[in-house]
């Protein structure tokens, strides 16, 4: 796997190029695609499914499907848009399958936060982090999705609209409503 996978000429190949390389069996290209999109796919699914394990599971399935079907990616839309559509379908299938239930594990620990603050700071911060996540999870779905995709992953309102069956205008409004409500709720919680 050496070949042309690491040309010094272009530092940041675009997704289309990575897909082409991956189709030819370039493992490094595959690696980069994963690095680039694992976060947004996971968060998108977390927003839809509301459960960290389920989201990780669905995200893994999403990538396996996408990466083994790269011929289905025609390149006339962004790779991110394409894989988010796959993710949503995956989530839909998972939602359909979940007929038998186990108790929800709402108190799952959040994944560790990046960086190296002291344990005390980190403990404090984790409380805050969990509080924000819980509050975010309470938002209506489209607001939650818009806030997550915009604020955590920097998607354009048009991309958000495509990923959530919405329009650009409502994606924007949903984002701003969501942020406003998040601020109010976080603020209210603090006072009680």
């Amino acid at each position: 796997m050496k070949g042309k996978s690491r040309e010094a000429t272009d530092p940041a190949p675009d997704d289309g190029e990575l897909v082409q390389r991956a189709k030819g069996g370039d493992a490094a290209a595959l690696d980069l695609l994963l690095d680039r999109h694992q976060g947004v796919v996971y968060r998108f699914l977390l927003g839809l499914l509301g459960d960290e394990d389920a989201a990780a599971d669905a995200a893994q399935e999403t990538f396996v499907r996408a990466l083994t079907n790269l011929n289905g990616f025609r390149g006339d839309a962004a790779f991110r848009t394409w894989i988010l559509a796959i993710a949503r379908n995956e989530a839909r299938g998972m939602a359909r399958r979940k007929s038998r239930r186990r108790e929800s594990a709402l108190d799952d620990l959040p994944p560790p936060v990046a960086g190296g603050p002291s344990p005390e700071t980190r403990a404090l911060r984790n409380v805050e982090v969990q509080r924000v996540r819980d509050t975010l999870a309470r938002l209506p779905e489209k607001q939650r999705m818009s806030v997550s995709l915009r604020l955590f992953d920097g998607l354009s309102f048009r991309e958000i609209a495509e990923a959530t069956d919405s329009t650009e205008g409502s994606a924007r409004v949903n984002y701003h409503h969501g942020i406003r409500r998040l601020r109010e709720w976080l603020h209210d919680d603090q006072r009680t």
Binding site: G25, D57, R102, R133, K142, T167, H177
Partner: protein
């Protein structure tokens, strides 16, 4: 770049944001945080932030929220790669979903992507030899209280998912969505 110099905020909370300097700024702040603003937009935004206390305060709030950004599990990438076989003919699935616990358990040690597929497949064969049969995908299910309109089953896209850009289902018109949202508020 001075747009009138209205430094007093119209409410930061105002969701409709078109046109006004604060509106534009609030639209763009997430992109600033994600480092996705073009240089020219970024300059205009910084200029606005230096004059507008309201928007500057909003930066702090958004940054606090971003610190709570959920991340995929640490071994996520390895788990995915552990299920793939990568060779000159492209990428194929070496470990199907119902065997993924195997790939997941096994990942970590091996680093060479090219080797993953084969070894995972070898493990699969081994497991098959042992005769372990799993009738069902051990899916980690979420809690039931979480409902999603976006996942409503009526519009399945069994085939469509492979089509680039699909599926852009035509949704409701803006006015309807907006009135729905107002109701939710």
């Amino acid at each position: 770049m001075t747009t009138n110099g209205h430094n007093g905020m119209n409410e930061t909370n105002q969701p409709s944001s078109d046109g006004t300097p604060c509106g534009d700024a609030l639209d763009q702040l997430p992109l600033r945080i994600a480092g996705r603003l073009a240089a020219r937009e970024a300059r205009a935004l910084e200029e606005h932030l230096s004059r507008c206390a309201g928007c500057a305060a909003e930066v702090e709030f958004l940054e606090a929220v971003v610190r709570a950004r959920p991340e995929p599990p640490r071994a996520f990438k390895t788990s995915v790669l552990g299920r793939l076989r990568i060779d000159d003919s492209g990428v194929t699935e070496a470990v199907p979903a119902r065997w993924k616990w195997l790939a997941n358990r096994w990942d970590g040690s091996q680093r060479r992507a090219a080797g993953w597929g084969l070894s995972a497949a070898a493990l699969l064969v081994l497991a098959l030899g042992i005769g372990v049969v799993w009738s069902e995908d051990p899916v980690a299910d979420g809690d039931t209280q979480f409902t999603s309109a976006l996942l409503a089953p009526e519009d399945e896209m069994v085939e469509e998912w492979m089509v680039a850009g699909a599926p852009v289902l035509d949704g409701l018109p803006d006015e309807v969505l907006l009135s729905l949202m107002t109701e939710m508020d």
